[in-house]
């Protein structure tokens, strides 16, 4: 995927001026936030589960070598194959080789953020193999040739008219003047077009929400059932998974599953949670004959032992971006690579380098909302600050950004944009909200110079850090 993260500021400006995008985002903002709040309120143990989830993942990371090795042995004992891939390139090569070995012409795909990280679709196309996205959100953006803008709702930036336009343009076998009376008409059309693709595919590629060391299983979570058709019907099932997805036992998986759907869509449980354990067995009437796991590193093992290790607890629920005032204002594409929102601002510099993604940790108001909803209790604001410190140290920032403002300052200088962001923060930016009338006179950048501290969740204030860094000759 073409990286546009360095252009975050320009991207953000375009996004704020895009009326269609703003209309689409307004659907999403309240929906996810309210649904999650209701699901969490209905489970008194939610907070205790978060603590268990955090401790569980910390335990896994402290013994990751053991759990990965055990998991891989379990997969092999089930007749599956594990491909250890250090880089995106290694992973792409492995996928293409598996496809070529069975003479694959078409590949169906379940939703996979690792697939996006690898840019696997472009790579398959280059190899003469046609990838077909089957998650409806991924399908529409594949038709439109654009990247996802959200990690669980990839087409969140689109409106119904965008779907109608794309379907009319691409489903040319159907009558051009057909009516799309309701959303259901679109879904029925996609269902029937994609069903024939499922039946024809030679290989099915899915992601994995978890890998289980005890049993050698991979787990996918969907609402559509597309992942199940993808992994059941073709001859070969390829699982794309990164190393931090492993958990010890089925019981441990249950702890994560109780957190995942509630944090993501506000459901108590997703419609389909499926555990796959190796290829078809003797007597089975269906299922793939081959089962491969692409176990991807791509920079993750190097995060262990650093201040970014905790990011590896992430279960990709998207709660942090759903609650982020900056994401809510500009959407996911402005972040310029695969992972948007607060989790992306921390992860992207780790995976593609701070030189390409150095702006992202500045795309924050440091309101702390992301950390407060993260089911894995990842200290996202603290880690964004770590990146900013690294940026100072490396002198990568342009002079304005060196004041720790960057994209955030862009908001601060534009009260209308800031008000929008603040409104989306729904009580998060309470201080800014209450003083909304005065925001014009109180741009946040001015707040610093007035000696006013932004409410940072922890750690030293900007002035203190600036003074310290200055003393150390770092700024």
């Amino acid at each position: 995927m073409h990286i546009t993260s360095p252009a975050f500021k320009q991207n953000a400006r375009h996004a704020l001026a895009d009326a269609n995008l703003q209309r689409a985002l307004s659907n999403a903002r309240t929906g996810f936030v309210e649904k999650r709040a209701r699901a969490v309120a209905a489970l008194p143990e939610f907070e205790a589960l978060r603590e268990e989830g955090r401790d569980l993942k910390n335990h896994v990371l402290a013994h990751l070598d053991f759990y990965l090795d055990t998991y891989a042995k379990a997969v092999e004992a089930n007749g599956g194959t594990v491909h250890w891939c250090e880089t995106a390139d290694d992973a792409r090569r492995a996928v293409v080789e598996i496809c070529r070995a069975v003479g694959a012409r078409t590949v169906t795909k379940g939703k996979s953020m690792i697939g996006e990280e690898l840019g696997i679709n472009e790579h398959l196309e280059t190899a003469g193999i046609a990838p077909i996205e089957t998650d409806l959100g991924e399908y529409i953006i594949q038709l439109r040739k654009e990247p996802p803008s959200h990690i669980i709702a990839p087409a969140i930036h689109l409106n119904r008219e965008d779907w109608i336009e794309a379907f009319r343009e691409k489903h040319t076998a159907l009558p051009a003047d057909r009516a799309f009376a309701e959303r259901k008409t679109l879904i029925d059309e996609a269902r029937s077009v994609l069903r024939s693709r499922f039946l024809a595919a030679d290989v099915g590629i899915t992601g994995a929400n978890m890998l289980i060391a005890e049993t050698g299983s991979s787990v996918i979570v969907t609402n559509e059932g597309n992942g199940d058709l993808t992994q059941t019907l073709p001859k070969v099932h390829i699982v794309l998974a990164s190393v931090e997805k492993v958990v010890p036992t089925l019981e441990d998986a249950c702890t994560i599953l109780r957190l995942l759907a509630r944090s993501a869509t506000g459901q108590d449980f997703s419609t389909y949670t499926t555990f796959s354990t190796g290829p078809r067995r003797a007597g089975d009437l269906d299922g793939p004959g081959e089962y491969h796991v692409i176990l991807l590193d791509n920079g993750r093992t190097s995060m262990i032992g650093t201040e970014f290790q905790e990011m590896l607890r992430c279960i990709r629920c998207a709660a942090c971006m759903n609650h982020c005032p900056v994401y809510g204002a500009v959407g996911g594409h402005a972040y310029g690579w695969v992972y948007p929102g607060p989790m992306g601002s921390v992860l992207t510099p780790s995976l593609i380098g701070v030189d390409k993604a150095g702006h992202l940790p500045n795309a924050s108001t440091f309101c702390g909302r992301c950390e407060s909803v993260c089911p894995m209790k990842i200290p996202l604001p603290k880690m964004m600050r770590h990146w900013r410190e690294r940026e100072f140290e490396r002198h990568l920032s342009p002079s304005a950004a060196r004041f720790g403002l960057g994209a955030w300052a862009w908001f601060a200088k534009r009260p209308w944009a800031y008000r929008l962001a603040a409104r989306l923060g729904a009580g998060v930016l309470g201080i800014a909200g209450r003083k909304r009338g005065r925001l014009g006179a109180l741009p946040l950048a001015g707040g610093w110079t007035d000696g006013r501290d932004m409410p940072t969740p922890e750690g030293e204030t900007f002035q203190a850090r600036y003074a310290r860094l200055k003393k150390q000759g770092l700024v």
Partner: protein, 240 residues
């Protein structure tokens, strides 16, 4: 495993160990972790499903209905073919079903419903209705478990537009963990994998209602790729 991948494996594990500032785990620690895999202790289980039996059954039903499933009750196995036929008629669905090759389903008195056309096996592209047995279900969220096997093809759970599920009331439990233990007890066999026991079938689907999507304008629509309807026939096999 190819040589290059063996190297990749040792480099990846090596980087993890360097990050953790240690070498491979000492045998005493590793065997402790393996023991934990074998004993698979339970973590916190929400209290909501630890309630008297009648309430637990009611909770299961309330949850599956909330997730857009429908439920009919059968007092005996003999009633099941009739309930299937009645349901299809009520939905204007042609009376053609593909049933799982499981003895508990195949042996039902289908012949007493001559208008119902019944085929046995995995789902094929043209099949619109399946009848499948459910291994067990959990009250906590209404979720139903479908482990695969020669008698339980996965395609029946996912290809037809309508899935009719036969669930024995005695197989409703409180939480997911109880179902994993049922699987371990009923399907465990000796294995050369790390824990020494294999009980996981190739595929286990946990299904909580019909397929759905909210990808268009964040509004839920049923019937995305999997079944549009999930209808459960609950066999009352427990004495009150």
């Amino acid at each position: 495993m190819a040589g290059a991948e063996t190297d990749a494996r040792s480099r990846m594990l090596g980087r993890i160990r360097r990050g953790l500032k240690r070498g491979p785990l000492p045998e005493s620690v590793a065997s402790g972790l393996t023991e934990r895999l074998k004993s698979h202790p339970r973590n916190l289980i929400p209290a909501r499903s630890r309630i008297p039996r009648a309430e637990q059954l009611a909770l299961w039903k309330a949850n599956i209905v909330k997730e857009h499933g429908t439920v009919a009750e059968a007092a005996s196995e003999a009633e099941i073919p009739g309930l299937v036929a009645d349901y299809l008629a009520s939905q204007n669905i042609p009376p053609v079903v593909r049933i799982a090759p499981d003895p508990s389903i195949a042996a039902l008195p289908w012949g007493e419903r001559p208008l119902l056309s019944v085929a046995v096996g995995r789902a094929e592209a043209q099949d619109t209705v399946s009848v499948t047995p459910c291994f067990a279900a959990v009250a906590e969220t209404g979720t139903m478990f479908f482990p695969s096997g020669p008698h339980h093809p996965t395609t029946l759970n996912i290809m037809p537009e309508t899935q009719i599920v036969v669930l024995r009331q005695s197989r409703i439990v409180g939480a997911y963990e109880e179902v994993w233990d049922l699987l371990r007890r009923e399907q465990g066999s000796v294995w050369d994998g790390p824990t020494g026991t294999r009980f996981m079938p190739r595929n286990v689907m946990l299904v909580t209602g019909p397929s759905r999507t909210a990808d268009i304008e964040q509004t839920i629509e049923l019937g995305a790729h999997g079944p549009r309807r999930v209808h459960v026939i609950l066999l009352k096999d427990e004495q009150p």
